[in-house]
């Protein structure tokens, strides 16, 4: 067989065609995502010298970021708030996903999912701002509670602190948590549950021994998909967080836009990403161990 025939056959292979097709979005992602992330990484090893960038390799930024208690506290607070948001969101979301998957008529399911996703598509900024209105001193929550005589004076712990951030973000990321859990619940073969009942388990034990373990991949996906973006949220801490609710993203923004210290901002971004990655990988490994490992 001639060389040209071989070449022609190689060019027509699955892999060649697949790679050719995927290359435009891949190149775009390399150019607009990988390259900028690489730039950030480079910057984090440089320093800002007033208006110019000093390009000598140094770990000064990391030293500063890790030694200054302000940055450490902001990072830990971000992780803590993101963790709380994730736990609250996933716990609130699970019953909804379960309800839609197990108790809603099949032809109504997509309507429910649609209803759940609609608020998510409306302006994030405006939704967050409205939470400030709702939770405000003279807002509807305090108004209703006082009107009902449950409280005597407005609650002060619901706005301009971490609690407000958790409530607002739990609202913002609700569909992100519900959808993956719903998908994993939908995949559960219903005869498995009948089998468990048939083998003598009651409803609760069936749920704990069959449904929950099988839904774990969805719960894990929900956890990650809420946790990761929440760490980097900027709007919510600014609008409803007050001074006790600011997070690492606000500091990154400050470094870039106000203090004009891009290298330190980059360092904070890299550290934030690293912590997110480490926590995510640890979560994935733990869940694997729990669902597949020996009992």
């Amino acid at each position: 067989m001639g060389l040209s025939t071989r070449l022609r056959r190689a060019a027509r292979t699955e892999s060649a065609r697949g790679l050719a097709l995927v290359s435009p979005p891949l190149f775009y992602a390399l150019l607009m995502l990988a390259a900028p992330l690489g730039t950030i990484l480079l910057f984090s090893f440089w320093t800002q010298d007033f208006l110019t960038i000093d390009r000598t390799f140094t770990l000064d930024n990391y030293r500063e970021a890790l030694s200054d208690p302000l940055y450490g506290e902001l990072l830990f607070r971000s992780l803590r708030i993101a963790g709380a948001v994730t736990v609250v969101t996933v716990l609130l979301a699970f019953p909804i996903a379960y309800f839609v998957s197990f108790h809603v008529r099949p032809d109504r399911k997509s309507l429910w999912l649609f209803l759940i996703t609609i608020p998510f598509w409306t302006s994030y900024l405006i939704r967050v701002f409205l939470w400030r209105v709702i939770l405000a001193f003279d807002g509807p929550v305090n108004g209703t509670l006082m009107g009902l005589g449950i409280i005597d004076e407005p609650l002060s712990w619901i706005l301009y602190n971490a609690n407000a951030v958790v409530i607002t973000l739990a609202h913002a990321f609700a569909p992100f948590a519900i959808l993956p859990i719903f998908v994993s619940l939908e995949r559960i073969d219903r005869s498995l549950l009948e089998a468990a009942r048939d083998l003598g388990e009651n409803r609760v034990m069936t749920f704990l021994r069959v449904t929950l373990p099988l839904a774990m991949p969805g719960v894990l996906a929900a956890t990650l998909i809420v946790f990761i973006p929440t760490i980097g949220d900027y709007v919510t801490p600014r609008l409803v967080g007050g001074s006790g609710g600011t997070m690492i993203a606000n500091m990154i923004q400050t470094q870039f836009m106000r203090l004009n210290n891009a290298p330190l901002g980059s360092t904070l971004a890299v550290i934030a990403m690293l912590s997110v990655t480490v926590i995510s990988v640890a979560l994935i490994l733990l869940t694997r161990r729990w669902t597949r490992g020996p009992r």
Partner: protein, 268 residues
């Protein structure tokens, strides 16, 4: 847990989800400058003021331009990636697809600052085009997710049958693939448009002196006197988003019906 208790919980949850959106029109039509209860009375004054604000109109034009270009580009990239992902096997496929989908989970602030730094490095100044570059990046994963569904629902052998009956790759795409994927394409365009229109962080960092609607809005939030106007604007934006969404959902369902399939869920 029984269905009844769960249903009550679900309804309360829906109220929680919709609470902010329901408040929006209340304050937009409220004849008072303070965003608080009790309401003062009905007015359309705030809407009328919207039209008179020149900076707002400029921001709207910027936003619409960015959203349209973003929707088209992201959907094109989505078509390529979804097609490759559902139809072809190639080396490092999971890694490549995962990388393209990465912006879906990456904190937006990271995407925004890294793009800003990289663009300043190569000498690009912030403008509507840099915002478009960022928005395409974060919209492409959504386009892929939607179009994946369209391609996965389409029987592989349909295209083979057309080629077998004498059509070329190109005419097969035009006669078979495009009509069958079209509802997905429209849904993807609408979703990407909506995301771009609402996106704030990336636009905040990358728009420079060409603000988008959310960036303009952010600036106005500082002025208490402007808040009722913001509420009016928000009402319009939310109504527009919901309208676009319902249209997108309609096309998605029509696509399913055309392919003779049962509906299995919503977007994502």
């Amino acid at each position: 847990m029984r269905g009844g208790g769960l249903k009550t919980y679900a309804v309360i949850y829906l109220i929680f989800l919709y609470a902010p959106i329901v408040l929006l029109p209340l304050f937009a039509f409220n004849d008072g400058t303070i965003i608080a209860f009790p309401l003062q009375g009905f007015t359309t004054h705030w809407f009328a003021e919207l039209v008179r604000t020149e900076a707002l109109i400029e921001a709207t034009v910027n936003s619409l331009f960015i959203a349209v270009v973003t929707a088209i580009l992201a959907t094109c990239f989505g078509l390529f990636a979804a097609r490759a992902g559902t139809r072809h096997r190639f080396p490092a496929k999971a890694g490549i697809m995962g990388f393209i989908m990465l912006p879906l989970v990456l904190p937006e602030i990271i995407v925004a600052v890294s793009l800003l730094v990289a663009m300043l490095q190569v000498g690009l100044s912030p403008s509507v085009w840099t915002v478009i570059a960022g928005h395409v990046l974060i919209c492409t994963p959504f386009a892929i997710a939607i179009l994946n569904g369209s391609f996965a629902n389409m029987d592989n052998s349909l295209e083979e049958a057309a080629i077998d009956l004498g059509e070329t790759q190109l005419s097969t795409f035009r006669l078979i693939t495009l009509p069958l994927v079209m509802p997905g394409i429209i849904a993807s365009l609408l979703i990407c448009f909506t995301i771009s229109l609402d996106e704030f962080i990336i636009a905040f960092f990358l728009s420079g002196n060409e603000p988008t609607l959310p960036v303009y809005l952010w600036g106005q939030l500082r002025f208490p006197g402007r808040l009722p106007v913001i509420m009016a604007l928000g009402t319009i934006l939310v109504a527009l988003s919901i309208l676009l969404l319902i249209t997108a959902e309609y096309f998605r369902r029509r696509g399913l019906r055309r392919a003779g399939l049962k509906d299995t869920g919503g977007f994502l």
